[in-house]
Symmetry: C2
Subunit: 650 residues, 2 copies
């Protein structure tokens, strides 16, 4: 067993509690994240409530289920401590690692949570015992199939699991939650360098994740071979090393070299984790061809294959991207993990380039596809996040469930939710000597370098008014810039400083206010939030003749629960000629802002096909209630739809 | 080895060359099919040309591939004749059986085809040698997994393969092509009765087929235990005997008893073969609860889950039916085998009840979903038969191929096509003492009982005029009835007898002409065939705002091949204000009737989502050419669509 010292990059200057993605000082990074512990979410804001629910409900639920479903038992069996039969998927270890990562991020702001600390310590110790003498750590291939170790890279998920172990260790290292976990992960990472490094075998993993993980481990440790190995895995991809497999090489993005590919393809989560790794390696190595490729694929993904909720994945069969503009709302396979991966990828692109469009996508996916995956009580989860559930839907099992389930046989999503929720403060803002850039709005206190502190007070996303008080201007009294994102959804906004309106046009998506700030100055950004009638590109056949209602960053939906008994949701039409309003409604006290509109019920006959256009006749009007998509399915399991057919103009 | 005499049901009176489905005299059967050899398809009619192409191209191609892909080698290995490694799917034997069945039907009208006869004889002999002493016959479970025999009914397809062997034997028995094949099949069937019969185990097969096969074997042999076993398999279904499996018990229709289920569900081919068996058993046992259930499921399938082409199956993931009205054209999984199974099921319902709606569906699926599966040259095939292929479609392998492939790793469809094409004459008409009922029109000569012969001359489906000459009125000179189906798609038609118009309203879908016919009398049925603009039920979200163009029984489509270079098919809109015409066009000489319309090209921007309705602007007009759907993909691999978005009324 080799022991290592924690190497810190020479010019590190890393904050002790850096959050997810901490570019080294040498990295090509337009923006520098605030540390996770430099952003304190307010208790009453939506983001703060989500994170608290995560800490109090979701994370303990995940820990309980790691016990109940045998994931921890698998590791004990790997440690030779009991005769436990292997339980669950062959990559069940990754659920442990993701939960550990979540716990580590949470401990950054809840250092005295004894239960969480005990979970991290005992699980780290278990992992250390389950680790083999050479550093290998994977309970399935230790307990069930030792002869298969490293033999089926297209299928085994060994490097995927290693990647999540490393991500957990990075979180544990950055937050100080567990130096021992860093040791475990590095022992495994060193084995990977030995086996897969410059003198090693030419192989890649069927499920990307190791690439971004190794880049992050390099950032934590300064140990260059990790970064080199991440790059090598990217360089080797697209040479057909994985073979054709069941779904063809596109499925695992092995059909073309990563620098040459022009379209997102295959399994969405794999594609998105791979893209995250491409950006990490690009900025740390200065290899701009990787960044160019990632941005090119971003354009393809977000111009042709992303749901209005920010979800990715149009096909259940291979959990995959579809053809361009193939975006069926009912058969969306918007895996929660893909939403998370998209959020993480966009964060990397935002840091690398400073372009607001990446923050826009973070916001969209956060408040819609991602947020919808968790129940209000924090203990039930969606997997595929459809945008429509039909009357008569037969669930077909976990993959097309119309209700959130407490756990899954493939439980990748719940602990993934836990780690993103726990690390949420790390994504709100960036800062440097020149100032503070705010990308996501929420009730929070932000501490930037040089003693600058800003208090952000807002009811976002329910209302568009954001107050930012420069509580401590910091440093030398010199000028610095407060940059505030104006979301792409917002057409009209107002800015005032100290009560005085200022006219500062947004440039590249940000309003930039440069001042020698004095303590107590309040900046108000007031983003207009009218209800928007969103239409899709005309090539999206699946939602022709429909609009989606949205307000601010939130997409809304209709639910059966809000229709009169006997009304079939599929027969409801939206009357665009009538007013559409938004506000609080006493009959729905738990939802701060509800959209109210007028609709009609279409009369439909029995025959499936008939000659002659204009067969639809609409009947009496009714009031339509649209609720935030992220809250759907919390009242009943009934039908739901985001895209609402528009009544023919009368 | 037991030897059996061919028992013939007491009151048999079967025609020697009865075709698929030959109800016993005791059966509850409203109609009685003409024998396969009593219908001679004309050489120039579309049906006759299809059948000839099948005999000359498709069937030999299948035989060649049974050699090339190892199916016959598997059987030689099972016979202990060579050390061949097992090749292909574990149910590869079924491809042999289906090809044998096709050959048997073909031999009914091509008795001197020496190559076909030799294939039947040598393959039958091979099967006999591969058969085990107890009658068991399955090369996979003989060669690869003898210990697994009968142990995995949810997966093994053993009874499915047995069913296709029996179907081949039934064809061979009815046509006289191979009494030896009947012996082989009966030896296996007797083993099934012993193992699964009244005193045997309670098991069913994950893939239905055995039910209809055993009922047909009973019809051929009169041996009641076969029918009883078919019924027993139906009775045992829906009790969860198959377990939950990968896709849940709905996948293989084991979620509810067959008499209680109210919706089609799961794997479409399995559902449809099961339904065929239900009708067979219902009419032979008099158990009307089975027929009621089948008709109830028919209403569900055809009112909520059938494509306009007659295809069944909306989901690639489980090759399954979707929710009601879930009918995505691009992701249709209209497996060719499901089209064939639907045709066979509707034929059984037509015979049982005499209701025209079943003949309507036979016609629709025959000329569209089924016919499209074969290339013009008869040697390439579609599997999933989508109704739309997008620009930029990435094939994703065999299951979503945008072009016909010569063969498939799961090659169930090509030999299934061969058996339906070969048996086509058996489906055109029924007859009894009271007269002759014509269900499908085509150039053909029909010989009914009592010496009645009718010559049918028509260019159907290209033109709606059908001439029927009573060439031999037959028998005693008494009156009999000629019943002619008026398809549901036809609003206007005319009938004349001997040149004199007659006004006989269609009743229940048939015009019935009762006369004491004299030789040479010509009846003309003239079905109006205007171009129809077909719309789907408003709940079919996937084609909202679109029409399909149809004429007679044919659905048409747009292909990239007919668009100006640079025009994206997805941007084309149909102008309903302009005339839509049909006729022969010199620029497309191979297609008898082409539809010509006017269209517009929509201008579309880059953004995937935008606020505000009415974002689509249309540009200059263009001429649109629609070709029969069944001919698509014969010129190029380009995009195609059946459902055409309609231009906003200007």
């Amino acid at each position: 067993m080799t022991q290592q010292k924690l190497e810190i990059p020479a010019a590190a200057g890393l904050q002790e509690a850096a959050g997810p993605v901490a570019p080294t000082p040498a990295a090509l990074s337009a923006l520098r994240p605030l540390g996770l512990d430099r952003v304190r979410l307010g208790a009453e804001g939506l983001l703060g409530r989500w994170r608290r629910r995560n800490a109090e409900r979701t994370l303990p639920h995940c820990v309980d289920n790691l016990h109940a479903y045998g994931n921890l038992g698998n590791l004990r069996a790997a440690a030779g401590e009991d005769g436990h039969d292997f339980a669950g998927m062959w990559f069940a270890d990754s659920d442990v690692h993701k939960t550990l990562e979540a716990a580590a991020w949470q401990l950054a702001t809840s250092p005295r949570d004894a239960g969480l600390r005990s979970f991290v310590e005992s699980t780290t110790a278990l992992l250390a015992r389950a680790q083999q003498a050479d550093g290998y750590l994977n309970s399935y291939f230790t307990v069930v199939a030792p002869d298969e170790r490293w033999r089926k890279p297209e299928w085994s998920h060994e490097l995927y699991c290693a990647g999540h172990l490393i991500q957990a260790a990075v979180a544990a290292g950055r937050t100080g939650a567990s130096p021992a976990l860093v040791t475990v992960a590095r022992r495994f990472a060193d084995l990977l360098v030995e086996r897969f490094g410059p003198d090693g075998v030419e192989e890649v993993c069927g499920h990307p994740e190791i690439e971004t993980a190794l880049a992050e481990l390099y950032r934590l440790t300064g140990h260059r071979p990790y970064l080199d190995l991440a790059r090598r895995f990217l360089d080797l991809r697209g040479r057909g090393l994985l073979g054709h497999g069941r779904f063809g090489s596109r499925y695992y993005q092995d059909h073309q070299p990563v620098r040459e590919v022009r379209e997102v393809a295959g399994h969405a989560v794999r594609q998105l984790y791979l893209l995250a790794g491409m950006v990490d390696v690009a900025v740390e190595t200065g290899d701009l061809t990787l960044l160019d490729a990632a941005e090119r694929l971003w354009a393809d993904a977000f111009h042709t294959r992303t749901y209005v909720t920010g979800a990715h994945g149009s096909r259940h069969r291979e959990e995959a991207y579809g053809d361009p503009y193939e975006l069926p709302p009912d058969r969306a396979y918007g895996e929660t993990c893909a939403a998370i991966a998209s959020f993480q990828w966009n964060w990397r692109l935002l840091l690398a380039t400073g372009r607001a469009r990446y923050a826009d996508e973070m916001e969209r996916v956060l408040y819609n596809a991602f947020a919808a995956a968790v129940s209000r009580d924090g203990r039930r989860f969606f997997y595929s996040n459809p945008l429509q559930v039909r009357t008569g839907h037969a669930s077909g099992g976990e993959e097309a469930a119309a209700r959130r389930l407490p756990w899954y046989s493939c439980a990748c999503c719940p602990p993934n939710i836990a780690r993103l929720m726990a690390s949420l403060p790390g994504y709100l803002a960036t800062a440097d000597d020149g100032g503070l850039q705010i990308h996501l709005y929420g009730d929070a206190s932000l501490e930037a370098p040089r003693g600058r502190r800003v208090e952000m007070r807002t009811d976002y996303p329910w209302h568009g008014r954001v107050e930012l008080e420069v509580a401590e201007p910091g440093g030398d009294g010199g000028a610095w810039t407060l940059a505030l994102r104006v979301p792409a959804w917002c057409d009209t906004y107002a800015v005032s400083v100290g009560g005085e309106p200022v006219r500062v046009p947004a440039r590249d998506g940000y309003v930039r206010l440069t001042r020698a700030w004095t303590a107590g100055t309040v900046v108000v950004l007031d983003l207009d939030m009218p209800v928007r009638q969103v239409t899709a590109h005309p090539r999206v056949d699946a939602v022709r003749g429909c609009v989606a209602l949205a307000r601010g960053p939130l997409v809304y939906c209709l639910e059966q629960a809000d229709l009169p008994p006997g009304t079939i949701l599929e027969d409801v039409r939206l009357d665009l000629a009538a007013p559409i309003t938004a506000g609080h409604r006493e009959d729905l006290p738990d939802i701060p802002v509800v959209i109210t509109a007028k609709g009609l019920v279409a009369h439909t006959g029995e025959s499936l096909y008939a000659a002659g256009a204009g067969r639809e006749r609409t009947g009496p009007p009714l009031t339509l209630t649209a609720v935030p998509y992220f809250l759907w399915g919390n009242r009943s399991e009934g039908p739901m739809r985001v895209w609402i057919p528009v009544a023919a103009a009368g």
